[in-house]
């Protein structure tokens, strides 16, 4: 099937099997490999992207269902050279080790802030609990999200 959508501000189209996930479309067809394939069951959060601003597990969304929608991946988060404050905070707080889960963590954190749910450490910890980090950079992730929240 043909699907047309906006990815990181750019209109894109692709021919895709109706059974494939948005994650497949992004990674294999558009070469946007920032969203990671971690579990394909919505358990790990590594594939998190924003669809019309909503945090979305791209492994659980059919690619065809993204037609007409606007998708933001980690590659499209910065505005030109200007990093998104959360990207900068993850750098400043070294909130990552291997970094495989990081794009998903950052996009989940963007949504956490947008939802106004970063007022306490516990709120962040609850909100971010869908994103696994096996290296367990958890203390730094909480610190990074809280730092951006505090600066607002």
């Amino acid at each position: 099937m043909e699907v047309r959508l906006t990815v990181n501000g750019r209109e894109r189209g692709a021919e895709i099997d109706p059974r494939a996930a948005l994650l497949d479309l992004l990674r294999d067809q558009f070469g946007l490999t920032g969203a990671k394939r971690g579990c394909e069951r919505g358990e790990c959060g590594a594939c998190t992207v924003l669809v019309d601003g909503r945090p979305t597990l791209s492994c659980l969304m059919l690619a065809v269902a993204s037609g007409g929608r606007s998708v933001t991946t980690i590659e499209g988060l910065a505005e030109g050279d200007r990093l998104h404050p959360l990207q900068q905070a993850f750098i400043d707080h070294d909130a990552l080790q291997c970094g495989f889960c990081t794009p998903g963590q950052i996009l989940a954190a963007v949504a956490c802030l947008a939802a106004g749910r970063a007022n306490t450490d516990d709120e962040v910890r609850e909100w971010m609990s869908g994103n696994l980090c096996r290296c367990a950079a958890y203390p730094q992730i909480v610190a990074a999200v809280r730092a951006v929240a505090a600066a607002r």
Binding site: R19, A78, D94, L96
Partner: protein
């Protein structure tokens, strides 16, 4: 501080495009291989200074989140007096000239401590000599800072990038002096990871992200029963799936590699490959292990520790005799399950076979082994195999195994095209190399002073080594399996450790910190029980008993002898920082444990409360000694990550074997500790003993389970001896 006096240590040449290229002979000064003893002919690593002043260090180790690219680059940059902002780290490919590229055992900083610092210092001397000649001054009047050579008197300075090409023709100085710790500018201070930029931009290329021209994707249905084989298969339905190009059988590769027999479906995209795989019909022969289960292992291991072990790993005095005569024997049986590494990036590898050569892009921790095994499996000479390292989404020991590299090479050879073999989470969880399950039994008796008089520790596990070799290593299967058990560091006049091998078809491997993860759980829990029985404080009790070891040191590391003062040092520091013995909030209790793992020392205190059978971890304090700390920020990340991974194992993780295969499939059944359950406060402290550094990657993991169990014991009076601990988090 120390001087290296080997003229043949460095080779310096002009680099293509200007600049200077340094070849470091690692064999000449690696801490292990003495000259001539190194297995590689010309092990070397490269440092490149470009005309634009960037300095590129090729890191001969695998980056999997442990920060090795940052810390190894720091070793060079410190002695070079480089501008840290201009230092880049480059991924390596496998070449024997790099020396041992295996990344594990918390060894990277230890192995590269002398060579990389010496390289930096030597280069610096050459750049200084070049500048001095240019100015016509005495090199002794020159200083360096931030990639500049300065001449104070003349108020002149020159950039490294501009000097590099000329420096290449300088003679290589011998006997350069390395900085004393007090002279460090970069090291010992917090540095953010060198790769945070590409990672936070989503542009870092992990193995899973590799794309090479003409590449196809493969997904493999492997035997779900370990030891099973393919009897026959029907590929018609798979081939009918749009996008599927080919279906090929994968013959298993046995011991030492463990590629599971299966059928690979190759397609134009990941998704089609997976669909094709689901459409396969395969007839399996279940093989010899189909009746095995976690219960069956447990039953035989439990029986094994009730009698004398098949191997006596070591013995001192007469523990059996003393225990037989003792009026009161204190016993504990400890049980731990198989564990999975569960790296966030599932296994994968890209391979391109063409004209009798194969190139791989592999997220491997051990390209040396991958190269050798790929060559063997494909019938090639090792020089016909090129393994490029990629970024890795976690390793923890899983990626030492060459199975995924060999698999990809086999598929590529079979189809004659480049291919990426993608593992699903289910594949990854069900075809791991698992931390062995274990049963430990410790019997001990106390003397009149309350100190242990006898200690007999019996261990039974499916050995890791069995997955890699048919005959036991010298000294039997026991010594490696009882790391943390047989070599525990308490002075007890009569003690022994016995070992009985458990047969199992489950592939076993090295899980972060390896055997100490279960051995130390048993030992440190038992020591706490003995302290309680003696009515003594657990910290005082340990301090009174920690002693120089009486068993033979592993021959590999005579330079790093066990030192009782260092273990006592971290124990005391952790207790002091935690406020051990001081009043706690109502309902709170502390537990402590300590240990020696991979040549480093760690002690941990857990402050917990248990309300309505629900556990809360309020605070964790860790003190560690791995010598001087190169990057405190990275070292803290390793300690905190190690503790949380240890907690995840202590509270949640269990691989269950049913019908000879793994029962768990995904993170819903193999559950990991999530951010909301991770302790809020982890305080890391260092003891920086003035000695050559070891590593922080593993030593924080093994004390966790016992430290937590000890805290729960002190909070509730209940001693939990089975992992994962039977307690729910609040």
């Amino acid at each position: 501080m120390s001087a290296v006096n080997r003229r043949d240590f460095l080779k310096v040449t002009a680099a293509v495009g200007g600049g200077l290229l340094v070849t470091i002979n690692l064999a000449a000064c690696r801490d292990r291989g003495a000259a001539g003893g190194a297995k590689a002919a010309d092990p070397s690593v490269f440092v490149r200074i470009n005309p634009d002043n960037t300095i590129v260090v090729t890191i001969p180790k695998s980056e999997m989140g442990q920060g090795v690219r940052t810390s190894l680059a720091m070793l060079v940059a410190e002695e070079l007096d480089a501008d840290w902002n201009q230092v880049r780290a480059e991924l390596a490919y496998y070449d024997p000239k790099f020396g041992d590229m295996g990344t594990g055992g918390s060894s990277s900083v230890r192995q590269n401590w002398m060579p990389l610092r010496t390289a930096g210092a030597t280069l610096r001397a050459m750049l200084v000599a070049t500048a001095a000649r240019e100015w016509g001054v005495d090199p002794a009047e020159c200083t360096t800072d931030n990639s500049f050579v300065h001449h104070a008197k003349g108020d002149r300075k020159l950039h490294y990038g501009g000097l590099a090409a000329k420096a290449a023709s300088q003679p290589i100085p011998a006997g350069v002096k390395l900085k004393a710790k007090s002279e460090w500018k970069l090291m010992g201070k917090d540095r953010i990871g060198i790769d945070v930029g590409p990672i936070t931009h989503g542009t870092a290329q992990y193995g899973l992200d590799v794309k090479v021209p003409g590449m196809l994707y493969a997904s493999i249905e492997r035997t779900l029963v370990f030891g099973g084989t393919v009897t026959s298969f029907d590929k018609a339905a798979a081939l009918a799936v749009p996008g599927v190009k080919d279906v090929v059988e994968i013959k298993g590769v046995g011991i030492g590699v463990t590629v599971h027999p299966g059928v690979a479906v190759v397609a134009t995209n990941t998704w089609a490959a997976m669909q094709g795989r689901k459409a396969l019909t395969i007839q399996w022969d279940a093989g010899p292990h189909a009746a095995e289960s976690s219960e069956s292992y447990l039953a035989t291991m439990r029986a094994a520790v009730e009698k004398k072990g098949d191997e006596t790993v070591n013995t001192k005095g007469d523990p059996d005799g003393v225990l037989a005569k003792s009026a009161k024997v204190i016993s504990g049986v400890f049980e731990t399950p198989f564990l999975s590494h569960a790296t966030m990036e599932p296994m994968n590898c890209t391979a391109s076979f063409k004209d009798g050569q194969v190139e791989l892009w592999s997220p491997t921790q051990y390209p040396d082994m991958a190269t050798a095994e790929v060559a063997k499996a494909l019938g090639l000479k090792p020089e016909k195999v090129r393994v490029n390292l990629t970024m890795m989404g976690g390793g923890f020991g899983r990626r030492i195994n060459p199975d995924f590299s060999v698999e990809a090479a086999l598929v590529s050879k079979a189809i004659g095209q480049p291919v990426k073999v993608v593992w699903t989470r289910e594949d990854d969880l069900r075809h791991d190399f698992y931390r062995p399950c274990s049963v430990h039994r410790i019997d001990a008796s106390l003397g009149a002073d309350g100190m242990p008089e006898a200690w007999r520790h019996r261990v039974s596990t499916p050995s890791i080594d069995v997955s890699y070799q048919e005959k036991p290593p010298e000294g039997g299967w026991g010594p490696n399996e009882t790391d943390g058990s047989a070599n525990m560091s308490y002075r007890i006049p009569n003690r022994s450790c016995e070992y009985t091998l458990q047969a199992s078809g489950v592939p076993r491997g090295w899980w972060r910190a390896v055997s100490t993860t279960h051995g130390m759980f048993a030992v440190e829990s038992m020591i706490d029980d003995l302290a309680a029985a003696a009515g003594k404080d657990p910290v005082e009790y340990r301090l009174a008993m920690i002693d120089g070891v009486w068993w033979k040191q592993p021959p590999d590391f005579p330079e790093y002898p066990f030192r009782a003062d260092r273990l006592k040092g971290v124990l005391q520091l952790a207790a002091d920082k935690a406020g051990w013995g001081k009043p706690l909030p109502k309902g709170h209790a502390m537990g402590i444990s300590c240990g020696y793992d991979h040549l480093s020392y760690a002690a941990e205190v857990f402050e917990v409360s248990v309300v309505n059978d629900r556990l809360r971890i309020h605070r964790v304090v860790v003190a560690a000694d791995a010598g001087p700390v190169v990057n405190p920020n990275g070292a803290r990340a390793m300690l905190e990550g190690g503790i949380i991974m240890g907690l995840s194992a202590a509270l949640k993780e269990r691989v269950t074997i049913k019908g000879g295969g793994v029962a768990q499939k995904n993170f819903d059944s193999y559950s990991l500790l999530r951010i909301n359950a991770a302790p809020v406060v982890i305080e890391s402290h260092f003891v920086e003993t003035d000695t050559a550094p070891t590593g922080f990657g593993e030593p924080a993991v093994p004390p966790v389970a016992a430290g937590l169990a000890n805290a729960i014991f002190r909070a509730t009076g209940k001693r939990l001896r089975t992992l994962p601990l039977d307690i729910k988090l609040a």
